[in-house]
């Protein structure tokens, strides 16, 4: 019997989950992974290892995850469809499972144009939804996409991303429904700087009955300054930062903007924690793992183990639903 993931158990118990993002190093030295993991592991239930995010080359997510599991950490392996076809993707999933990875986040991936190798060949053989369904069939049906039988099936807690903050807004909840149908058990959203937009999205998600079927973790992160905010807004695909946020940062002197950005992030965490259907937060801060730890602390999420706005009940209800046989 392959043990289940720790993140899965935290969510199923109804506890408010916290995951953090580890940005893989540009280095062949495992120490740089362990240093970052040490900081995150104290404050998170799971550590996301990004897969060449923003189409920049870094240590691979499969490599980082192998290091993390060896050291006893709980990784969430991000898998993007940009760089690998279905043959490589399925092979990496098996390899990761063998290395003890239990959580996988299936992504389509950013275009190569935004990265440091814009001349690379983009693959996009699968998309996030077909990757999810492929991973699901590997787990539940013990088969490769081709139908060929696996000797031993992997056991993954499968996740997907969602971006409630970009158009078409009325389709975003329906796309989430597709991901749930394809086999997603948890969702990590894009950076949330617009709480009213998130609340609107969550209302539709609840109306569609999706809050009962999938654990939603809202993505959050600090802005270092008003300028950084403006840069991200214009250069990072899919991150929506409302004017109000930028002007709030501009309203304080430059040397206090880091502090203000952090405070804003803490406030957003506290607000989304009260939003029904939100089961946790996913904290991201590019190469500032210490800052992630401080934010989680200041948001009152330590010691780990507190419940979300719907208490232990929601987790248990979802846990019941997800123990029923999954349909593809």
């Amino acid at each position: 019997m392959i043990p289940t993931s720790r993140l899965e158990r935290v969510l199923k118990s109804g506890r408010f989950a916290v995951t953090g993002e580890l940005n893989p190093p540009d280095s062949a030295d495992p120490e740089s992974v362990f240093e970052r993991a040490l900081v995150l592991a104290e404050v998170c239930d799971g550590i996301n290892a990004t897969d060449a995010s923003g189409a920049h080359v870094h240590m691979s997510s499969v490599g980082v995850c192998a290091l993390l599991t060896r050291a006893g950490y709980e990784p969430v392996m991000q898998v993007s469809c940009r760089d690998r076809n279905r043959i490589a993707l399925q092979g990496d999933l098996l390899g990761a499972a063998a290395m003890g990875v239990r959580n996988v986040l299936c992504l389509t991936g950013d275009g190569v144009e935004t990265g440091d190798h814009p001349d690379a060949k983009p693959v996009f053989d699968l998309d996030s939804i077909s990757l999810l369904k492929t991973a699901r069939s590997m787990c539940d049906r013990s088969r490769f996409l081709s139908g060929r039988q696996l000797e031993v099936a992997p056991r993954f807690f499968l996740g997907a991303a969602s971006n409630p903050f970009v158009p078409p807004f009325d389709f975003r909840p329906l796309r989430l429904a597709k991901k749930v149908e394809a086999g997603a058990e948890f969702i990590q959203t894009q950076y949330c700087f617009d709480v009213p937009r998130l609340e609107k999205f969550m209302r539709t998600v609840r109306d569609l009955g999706l809050a009962e079927k999938v654990y939603i973790l809202v993505g959050v992160g600090p802005l270092r300054s008003a300028r950084a905010g403006e840069w991200i807004r214009n250069n990072v695909p899919g991150v929506h930062i409302p004017d109000a946020v930028i002007s709030r940062l501009k309203g304080v002197p430059p040397e206090k903007q880091v502090e203000e950005g952090k405070r804003l992030c803490v406030e957003i965490i506290q607000q989304v924690r009260e939003t029904p259907g939100v089961c946790g937060v996913h904290v991201m801060a590019y190469r500032q793992e210490e800052l992630v730890a401080e934010i989680i602390d200041e948001a009152g999420l330590l010691p780990r183990g507190g419940y979300g706005s719907m208490g232990a009940d929601q987790g248990r209800r979802l846990a019941r639903m997800s123990t029923q046989p999954k349909t593809l």
């Binding site: 069939s137 970009v166 078409p168």
Partner: protein
């Protein structure tokens, strides 16, 4: 050269439905590899190229994607817009182009026959069908067939 017919998705879905009905009696002759496929390829390239900017993937899903070709999306998404759509509705990768899937979603909303197909999950594209006739692949059943591990 593009023809502006995509502004009328309702007309296009009816045209698709009608063509399918008209072709159905001839389906036993519609086999891949022969001169009939060559004729179809030429016709499809001309017509679908002009209307949809068709890329001849041979695995046509137009009626499930708001009569909008998903191969014109730089990420070749088959199941809806990626998370990179800009606030003005333009594409993450080609900033001056409207996101293909934004258009697809808007069009599917007025399609009464196939509009709901937009919410279904489409299988990954079959690479070996590239440059063949999508109509023939449709009638032989190979196109849009779920991969073996997804089937019941």
């Amino acid at each position: 050269m593009r023809i502006g017919l995509q502004a009328y998705p309702r007309f296009l879905e009816l045209a698709y439905q009608l063509s399918r009905r008209l072709l159905l009696p001839f389906s036993r002759w519609m086999v891949p590899g022969g001169w009939i496929e060559k004729i179809f390829v030429v016709l499809e390239k001309g017509a679908k190229g002009a209307i949809f900017d068709c890329r001849m993937c041979g695995d046509c899903v137009l009626h499930s994607t708001g009569m909008t070709c998903p191969m014109t999306c730089p990420k070749n998404m088959r199941n809806g817009p990626c998370g990179g759509v800009r606030q003005n509705g333009n594409c993450e990768i080609i900033p001056e182009m409207k996101c293909v899937w934004m258009q697809a979603w808007d069009r599917s909303k007025v399609m009464r026959v196939y509009g709901d197909d937009f919410l279904g999950i489409l299988p990954p594209r079959k690479g070996q069908l590239q440059d063949g006739s999508a109509w023939i692949n449709d009638f032989t059943g190979i196109a849009v067939q779920d991969p073996a591990s997804w089937l019941e």
